[in-house]
């Protein structure tokens, strides 16, 4: 998403839409659900609207999701951060691993200069990562979160195209 021209469709942000007039079902006045860092399985269901999503937990119940493309390939992952026994996760790190690319640090810096919301970096193990962190502590509504996840996938695709055009 290029800074000069694509903010119109930039939907990622750190914070959520409001939880207005909550009813007992957890729906706001416009019928949106508020989800928190304790709702990892629900977040996985929201991600399912974007792409086929796997949900797993590790031995200490830290959740993890993997979102797939229509062809079954891994699109990106969601790493839940700062959880306690699988609950009260503080953030969701959306991460796309592009593996080894022939991009220089200068090129990654140019991408970060040029595009909003996501950041690209070399992970020290030979892979290029595109990442966006979404804070969950104050709750986010499902519509907003779906758009955030969908837009991250879009940004990952933009990076892939940008990388290909720049020799990656």
């Amino acid at each position: 998403m290029q800074k000069e021209s694509t903010l119109a469709v930039a939907l990622l942000a750190l914070f959520a839409m409001p939880a207005l007039a909550q009813n007992p079902l957890g729906l706001d006045a416009e019928g949106r659900m508020t989800v928190t860092g304790s709702d990892a399985r629900l977040i996985a269901q929201i991600a399912q609207r974007v792409g086929d999503t796997d949900f797993t937990e590790d031995v200490i119940r830290t959740p993890h999701i993997v979102v797939h493309r229509d062809n079954g390939d891994v699109w990106f992952e969601g790493q839940f951060i700062g959880c306690s026994g699988g609950l009260e996760c503080q953030a969701l790190a959306l991460v796309a691993d592009f593996g080894a690319l022939g991009l220089t640090g200068d090129q990654l810096n140019s991408f970060n200069n040029e595009y909003y919301y996501v950041r690209a970096y070399a992970n020290g193990q030979g892979a290029v990562i595109v990442q966006q962190d979404v804070m969950l502590t104050d709750g986010v509504n499902d519509v907003w979160l779906e758009r955030a996840i969908r837009t991250f996938g879009h940004m990952a695709d933009i990076f892939a195209q940008w990388s290909a055009e720049n020799g990656g």
Partner: protein
């Protein structure tokens, strides 16, 4: 500071305001955004070259800007771009990459003059609660504090 520490501070800030009454703020309410900024230090309202609003603030001696982006008629703006550039602060790409790898929420890069920059973006489309936006400013102050230390600015 490690990721978990930064997240911990942000968590405290976010939860501390979560029980307050919710008021919705969108990108047309520049004065409200300015008022929130003034809760963290001095802040003045300016205009960008295209007429869109911009807030210039200072937190603990560090100057930053909040660019209101994607505005209609210089008013209804959909995004906030928190920005701080550090003139003549030269860092290596490895140092910048390490920030982006190891920290959450702030995005670091070198600008065209190879000066260190930190940014963070917030989407205001359809509005956010005042508490959310306040938490975003609070998080931004934490990012600024850590980044200025990281690059040796302070």
């Amino acid at each position: 500071m490690l990721k978990q520490l930064m997240l911990g501070a942000a968590f405290v800030a976010a939860t501390a305001v979560s029980a307050q009454a919710q008021t919705i703020i969108d990108g047309s309410q520049v004065d409200e955004i300015l008022n929130i900024a003034r809760g963290y230090g001095s802040a003045t309202l300016e205009k960008q070259s295209n007429g869109d609003p911009r807030i210039t603030g200072k937190v603990d001696g560090v100057t930053y800007q909040v660019y209101l982006m994607n505005c209609t008629n210089n008013t209804n703006c959909e995004d906030l771009n928190f920005y701080a550039g550090f003139l003549d602060n030269k860092q290596t790409l490895d140092v910048i990459n390490a920030w982006n790898r190891d920290k959450r929420f702030g995005k670091a890069y070198l600008d065209s003059d190879l000066d260190a920059v930190i940014e963070s973006d917030v989407n205001l489309e359809k509005g956010v609660t005042r508490e959310n936006l306040d938490a975003a400013f609070n998080l931004w102050t934490l990012i600024l504090e850590q980044y200025t230390t990281y690059i040796g600015y302070k």
